[in-house]
C-alpha cells in the first residue's frame, strides 16, 4: 500500500516538474537563457534551469518518500527521486517528439526549432530519449543530495550559489578586471558569456575549501575576535566598513558607463526604499501611490532648474532639491490628511489612485502648458559643485565654474549621500518615541490609540516623511536623466519599491539595500532576465512569503529574538 503510494507520488511530482519545465520552454525562458552560459561550452543557463527543475523534483519526491517511510530507507528515497526525475525527463521527451510532428508555433511562438535543438543538445529528435535519461539521473542527484548530511548540503549550496552568481555576472567582473589592468586573470576565469571551465572549478571548489576551513576553524576565529580588546574589535569593524565603502564608492568608477547607470538606479531605489520603509515598514501604512511624490519631486526640480521652455526658474540643483523635498512633503500632508483615517487595504487603494491621478495630470493636455504634457520637461540643469554662471537664454545651460556632476557616476555619489542621510534619519527615528509609536500603530492601532498616541498626527508624519524622501528620489532622478516624462512615473515604480521592501525585510534598513540589489540591480544587469522580470518577481515574492516571510535581512528585533531562542535551546541541551 505504502509502496504504491510512494510510486504514484513520485510520478505525480515528476509530471508536475515536467509541466513546469515545458512552461519554462514555452514562455521562451529556456531559449533566451541559453544565450548565457554557466560554464562556457559546457552548460548554458537555460539548460541549467531545466536541469535544476528535475533535480528539484527528485529532491521533493525523495523528501516525501522519507516523510512516508521514515529516514531508514535510503533506497526507496533514491528510487522515488529517480522516478520523479525520469517522468520530468519523459514529459520533455514527449514534448520534443510531439513538437516534431505537430507544429504548435502558431500558438506558442517560442516552440521554435532552436528550442528543440537546444533541448536535444543539437543531436536531433531521434536522440530525445537522452532527456529522459538525463532527467532520471538528475532526479537521482536530487535524491542523493537529500541523503547527504546537513553540513555537506550547506557547503554544496554555498558553492553552487556562488558559482552561478559569478557566472551570471561574469561579464561585469570581466569588465572590472580588464579596466584594472588584470586582463590575464579576467580572461582565464571569466568568459564572454559565462565562467570558463577553470573559473567555475576555482569558484566551486574554492567555496568548498573555505567552507570546510571555516567549519573547523570558524569557532576559534570567532572566539578569537570576541577575545580581542574593545579597541581591536572597533578597528576590525571600522576596517570592514571602510572596505565596503571603498567597494561601494569605487565600483561605478571601475566599471563601464552601462554598469554605472545600473548602480545609480539601484542607489535611487535604495533611497526611495528607505523612505517608504518609514511609511510601510515602521508604521505599516501600505502606500501604493509612492510614485506620486516621486513625480512631484522630479517635476519640482524640472520646473525650477530647466533651461528649456518650461523652466519657471533657473536656480541651481542644490537650491531646487530642498524645495522639491518640501513640496513633496506638503503634498504628502494634503493627500494624507483625508485618507489616513481609513485602514489597511483601503489605504492601499486610495493611495494607488493618487499615484495614477498625479501621473495622468502630469501627462495631460490640460496641464501641458505648465508641465509639457507628453513631451515632458527637458533640459534639466546638472548639479554643479562651484559657481553657476548666469542664465542667458532658453535652451542654453548655465555654465558651471567648478565640477559639473554630469555623468551617471557623479550623480551616483549624490544618490549615495542622500541615501546615507535618509538611512541616518530613519535609524534615529526608529530608536525614538516616534519610531516606537509607529511600530505600535503597525501592530495594533486601537491599543496604540488607547495608550495616548494620536493616530492621525503620527501616521501623517510617517506618510509625509515617506513622501519627502520619494520627492528626493524623484529630484535626483530628474537631474540624472536630464528630462522628465509623465510616462516614467508608472505604477511599477511604486510596486518595485514595495516589493523590494518586502523581499529585503519589512522595517529593516539593511534589508532595503539587499532588496534593491536583488530586485532592481539583478534584472537590470541580466538583460536576458529583464523580459521575464515580473514573472520572476512574482516567483520571488511567493517564495519569500512561503520560505522566509521576515525577509532576506530582517530587522533587529526579529534577529535578536531568534538569537535568544538559540541561546535558550543551548541551555536546555
Amino acid at each position: 500500500m505504502k509502496k504504491e503510494n510512494l510510486l504514484w507520488n513520485a510520478t505525480k511530482i515528476g509530471l508536475l516538474g515536467g509541466a513546469i519545465a515545458i512552461f519554462i520552454c514555452l514562455v521562451g525562458m529556456a531559449e533566451i537563457f541559453s544565450k548565457r552560459d554557466v560554464v562556457e561550452t559546457v552548460i548554458t543557463l537555460g539548460q541549467f534551469v531545466l536541469l535544476a527543475t528535475s533535480v528539484v523534483t527528485g529532491f521533493t519526491a525523495s523528501r516525501q518518500a522519507i516523510n512516508l517511510l521514515g529516514p531508514n530507507q535510503p533506497l526507496s528515497a533514491l528510487t522515488a527521486g529517480l522516478i520523479a526525475g525520469l517522468f520530468t525527463g519523459l514529459v520533455l521527451t514527449l514534448f520534443v517528439v510531439a513538437g516534431d510532428k505537430v507544429n504548435i508555433r502558431a500558438v506558442f511562438l517560442n516552440a521554435s526549432p532552436t528550442l528543440y535543438s537546444l533541448l536535444t543538445f543539437g543531436k536531433g529528435v531521434s536522440n530525445s530519449w537522452v532527456l529522459a535519461v538525463g532527467g532520471a539521473m538528475s532526479g537521482l542527484l536530487g535524491a542523493g543530495y537529500l541523503l547527504l548530511p546537513e553540513l555537506f548540503r550547506r557547503t554544496i549550496n554555498r558553492a553552487l550559489l556562488v558559482t552561478v552568481f559569478m557566472a551570471l555576472f561574469s561579464n561585469l567582473f570581466r569588465v572590472v578586471f580588464i579596466n584594472q589592468g588584470m586582463e590575464q586573470i579576467a580572461k582565464f576565469i571569466f568568459g564572454q558569456t559565462g565562467l570558463t571551465m577553470p573559473g567555475s572549478l576555482i569558484f566551486f571548489f574554492g567555496v568548498i575549501l573555505i567552507s570546510w576551513f571555516w567549519n573547523y576553524r570558524g569557532r576559534q576565529i570567532q572566539s578569537g575576535v570576541a577575545r580581542l580588546p574593545k579597541s581591536g574589535q572597533l578597528s576590525l569593524r571600522a576596517a570592514t566598513i571602510a572596505l565596503i565603502a571603498i567597494i561601494a564608492l569605487g565600483l561605478p568608477q571601475a566599471s563601464g558607463p552601462f554598469i554605472a547607470q545600473v548602480i545609480v538606479t539601484v542607489a535611487l531605489f535604495i533611497l526611495m526604499g528607505l523612505g517608504l520603509n518609514i511609511t510601510l515598514g515602521f508604521a505599516g501604512l501600505l502606500d501604493l501611490g509612492f510614485v506620486a511624490f516621486y513625480a512631484i519631486g522630479a517635476y519640482t526640480v524640472g520646473l525650477l532648474t530647466s533651461y528649456g521652455i518650461f523652466g519657471l526658474q533657473h536656480v541651481s540643483f542644490w537650491v531646487a532639491v530642498p524645495i522639491a523635498v518640501l513640496v513633496a512633503m506638503g503634498a504628502g500632508f494634503v493627500l494624507g490628511l483625508p485618507v489616513l483615517g481609513v485602514r489597511g487595504d483601503y489605504l492601499a487603494i486610495a493611495t494607488l489612485g493618487f499615484g495614477e491621478i498625479v501621473r495622468l495630470l502630469a501627462g495631460s493636455d490640460f496641464l501641458a502648458p505648465y508641465f509639457g504634457g507628453p513631451q515632458g520637461i527637458i533640459g534639466i540643469q546638472k548639479p554643479c559643485l562651484g559657481i553657476l554662471g548666469p542664465f542667458l537664454k532658453i535652451d542654453v545651460p548655465r555654465v558651471c565654474n567648478g565640477i559639473e556632476l554630469g555623468k551617471p557616476q557623479d550623480i551616483y555619489y549624490v544618490a549615495v549621500a542622500a541615501a546615507l542621510l535618509i538611512a541616518f534619519v530613519a535609524w534615529r527615528l526608529r530608536e525614538s518615541r516616534l519610531g516606537r509609536a509607529w511600530m505600535a500603530i503597525r501592530e495594533d492601532e486601537d491599543v496604540a490609540e488607547a495608550l495616548g498616541i494620536n493616530l492621525i498626527q503620527t501616521k501623517l508624519l510617517a506618510y509625509m516623511l515617506g513622501a519627502a524622501f520619494a520627492g528626493l528620489g524623484g529630484a535626483i532622478f530628474a537631474t540624472l536623466i536630464g528630462s522628465i516624462f509623465a510616462t516614467s512615473m508608472q505604477l511599477t515604480v511604486s510596486l518595485n519599491v514595495v516589493s523590494l521592501i518586502i523581499v529585503g525585510g519589512m522595517g529593516s534598513i539593511p534589508g532595503v539595500i539587499v532588496g534593491a540589489i536583488a530586485l532592481i540591480g539583478l534584472p537590470e544587469l541580466l538583460r536576458e532576465v529583464s523580459e521575464f522580470r515580473y514573472l520572476l518577481y512574482g516567483m520571488a515574492l511567493i517564495i519569500m512569503m512561503l520560505a522566509k516571510p521576515e525577509g532576506l535581512w530582517p530587522s533587529q528585533a526579529t534577529r535578536r529574538e531568534l538569537h535568544h531562542v538559540e541561546v535558550e535551546a543551548d541551555v536546555k541541551a
Binding site: L429, E431, R436, E443, A450, G452, H564
Partner: protein
Amino acid sequence: MAPILTAKKVTKRFGGLVAVNAVDFEIPEKSIVSIIGPNGAGKTTFFNCITGFGKCDEGEILFEGTPIQRLRPDQISRLGISRTYQNIRLFAEMSALENILVGQHIFLNSSWISAVLGTPRVHQEEKRALTEAQRLLDFVDLKGNGDHLARNLPYGAQRRLEIARALATKPKLLLLDEPSAGMNPRETEDLTAFIRRLRDQLGITILLIEHHMRVVMGISENITVLDYGEKIAEGTPAQVQSNPRVIEAYLGRGAATEGMATAHERYTKKAG
C-alpha cells in the same frame, strides 16, 4: 469619597441590539470596583464606552468632573484612564521593554527633528524613559525579560506586561478586563495581591471585569452586576451574593436559591 468616574444613563446600541442600557455607575476614588455578569452582558462594551473605543450613543461619562464620552481614546488616556484587554493585546513583535516605552509615549515630547539631531535633551528623556520602563518591568516581576519579544513571553507574563504597559501611562483609573483569565489558582492569588498593591501603594482606582468569583469577592469593595446590558444589582460582595436577581441571572430561575447559597457559604468559609 468623591467619585472619580460617574456614568449617567450610558446606552450603547449595535443596530437593534442594546448592549448597554441606561447604566448608572459610580467609582469612588481609590477603590476597587468590579463589574460582573454572564457572558454577553455588556461588560466589555461598557469598558469600551469609558475608554472611547466605541462611543456611547446616549448618556454622559464624567471623569473627575470632565465629560469624556465624546473624546478620542488618546485624549481619554491622557486624562488618566488606562486599560488592559480580555484577549491580551500586546504589541507582539516588539520587545517587552518597548511595549512599556510605548505606554510612556504621552510623557515624552521630543519632536521628530530633535530626535533626528539627537539633542542632549532627547538623550536625557530617553534615559529617563528607559529607567522608568525597567522599574515597571521590575514592579511586575519581569526583570530581565526586557529584550524578549512580547509574543514569546509565557501567558502569565504577558498579562503582567500588559498591566505594566497600562501603568506606564500613569493612570488614575485602571480598567482590567478579566485579568485572571487562564491563570491557575496560584497565579490568581498573586494577581489579587498585586491588584491590591496597585491601589494601596500607587493610589490607583481599579475597575475590574472578572469571572473568577474568588478574585471578585476577595478584593472588590463594590460590585455592579450587569445582565442583558442592564444593571441588575449593586453593592458590597455580601449584598450582591445574596441578591436573588443575581442568582437568577447566573444560574437560571430554578436552581436559584440553593446554588448561590452554597456558593456563598464557600466564599465565607474561605474568607474565614
